[in-house]
């Protein structure tokens, strides 16, 4: 394996354009965004969508409903703070939005950040009912990011 590591060191050094050269002090800097123009860390899904469009405010919702599907998103192996969220499809039963907007006509797509999921024991279960406090993603009335989830 040592030869492979040395080969890789040479190869990656040759392809290296910045300060993250292997062999040196490894700066665990975020990978550039596509196009390579940004080094801004990715926001966690906990805040994704909250800023939304310029000038828009996230709309808070309180609802109950049953989980139709639950999908776990993998954590990133190099940046463990990225990913690891769950995505639920929730059939809304009761709906109360701060802007008094109506409930979505299709199942609510609920992004549950990892820290919210980790507070749930057990993990989200299809078919179970939950009480949800969330914020709608700007421009997407059928998508929300969960602030809190309570199994009913």
């Amino acid at each position: 394996m040592r030869w492979a590591a040395l080969w890789l060191l040479c190869s990656l050094s040759a392809g290296c354009t910045g300060s993250d050269a292997p062999g040196g002090t490894e700066a665990r800097s975020p990978a550039p965004a596509e196009g390579g123009s940004s080094s801004t860390p990715s926001k966690s899904p906990a805040t994704a969508g909250e800023a939304g469009e310029p000038g828009s405010e996230p709309v808070g919702v309180h609802c109950t409903g049953s989980v139709l599907t639950a999908r776990e998103s993998p954590p990133n192996k190099r940046f463990p703070d990225r990913g690891g969220h769950w995505i639920l499809e929730v059939q809304v039963e009761e709906w109360d939005a701060a802007d008094e907007s109506a409930a979505p006509s299709t199942p609510l797509r609920l992004i549950v950040p990892r820290e919210v999921v980790e507070s749930l024991v057990p993990r989200p279960v299809e078919g179970e009912r939950y009480d949800v406090v969330a914020k709608l993603v700007a421009g997407k009335p059928d998508t929300a990011t969960a602030d809190a989830l309570t199994r009913l």
Binding site: W7, L8, A48
Partner: protein
């Protein structure tokens, strides 16, 4: 080679053929006598399973699953490899043990695995090897970090782009479990010992022949995908391969890890959706 038959002609001298003993007792005996393990299939009560096509001597399955997050991570293309390694777009290879007939699960199975196995299904006792909380290091000269066997390993479940399945005896299940348990405290290196190394060595621990899963000595999910694809092309049974046509891996990465994570499900379709769209071939 998957689906290797381990059935043998009846051996009346084997403890396994003693009809007065229970399956569990015979499993215990078999654990201490490798030759006897395969002979479990010769017991009268297993005859129906054999007649139904379920290899009675191989009541379990080992599945190897591969999910990809980049079109290519080839050490022959260092720039692309560097980009994907640095952003953590390496994909995942993991395994799962399954008893299609959960009544065949011996009581002697390892307690950390029994509950998962009894849940049933092709992802029943899923396990994968992951870096610890600090994430992996890309420094080839200092790549080892803390590692852990994740069980159940459901993070990439239902997103696999390739899989290969093997029929196992009880004894072979025990060997896979023993191997996995031995790696709970192992160190992780994205170059030296990673998820794909764990999966490949699990297959080998069962005494099976794993497909090629590495390039230039470095195991990677993309190489495992290519290895399974070659197995399928060679007519090996028990394989599943997604043709990857139409997949946008940058969009998939953004959906999983980016600023809009979770908001574009079409970018990260399920294996079932891909199969429904005609992108998956099984043997």
């Amino acid at each position: 080679m998957p689906s290797q038959s381990t059935r043998r002609e009846a051996d009346t001298s084997s403890p396994a053929s003693t009809t007065s003993t229970t399956t569990d007792e015979r499993f215990e005996q078999a654990r201490g006598n490798g030759a006897a393990a395969a002979d479990l299939s010769t017991s009268p009560e297993n005859g129906l399973d054999g007649a139904l096509g379920m290899a009675a001597g191989t009541p379990a399955k080992l599945h190897v699953y591969v999910d990809l997050e980049a079109q290519e991570i080839s050490m022959w293309n260092p720039r692309e490899a560097k980009k994907n390694l640095e952003r953590g777009a390496v994909g995942h290879t993991w395994i799962a043990l399954e008893y299609p007939d959960v009544s065949q699960i011996p009581d002697t199975v390892h307690p950390k695995h029994a509950g998962y196995l009894r849940q049933g299904g092709k992802y029943a006792d899923s396990m994968g090897f992951w870096p610890g909380d600090e994430g992996y290091s890309t420094n080839p000269l200092n790549s080892y970090v803390s590692g852990r066997v994740k069980q159940p390993d459901t993070s990439h479940q239902g997103r696999e782009k390739a899989s290969q399945s093997y029929d196992l005896t009880h004894e072979e299940v025990g060997k896979v479990i023993d191997y996995a348990e031995s790696k709970r405290g192992a160190k992780y290196s994205v170059y030296g010992y990673n998820c794909t190394s764990f999966a490949k060595e699990s297959v080998e621990a069962a005494g099976k022949s794993a497909p090629s899963m590495s390039t230039l000595g470095i195991a990677m999910p993309n190489a495992a995908y290519e290895g399974i694809k070659k197995q399928q092309a060679n007519g090996t049974e028990g394989t599943m391969v997604d043709d990857l046509d139409g997949l946008d891996f940058d969009a998939l990465y953004e959906e999983r890890y980016g600023n809009t994570a979770g908001q574009n499900p079409d970018a990260d379709p399920t294996t079932q959706q891909r199969e429904d769209a005609g992108h998956v071939k099984r043997t």
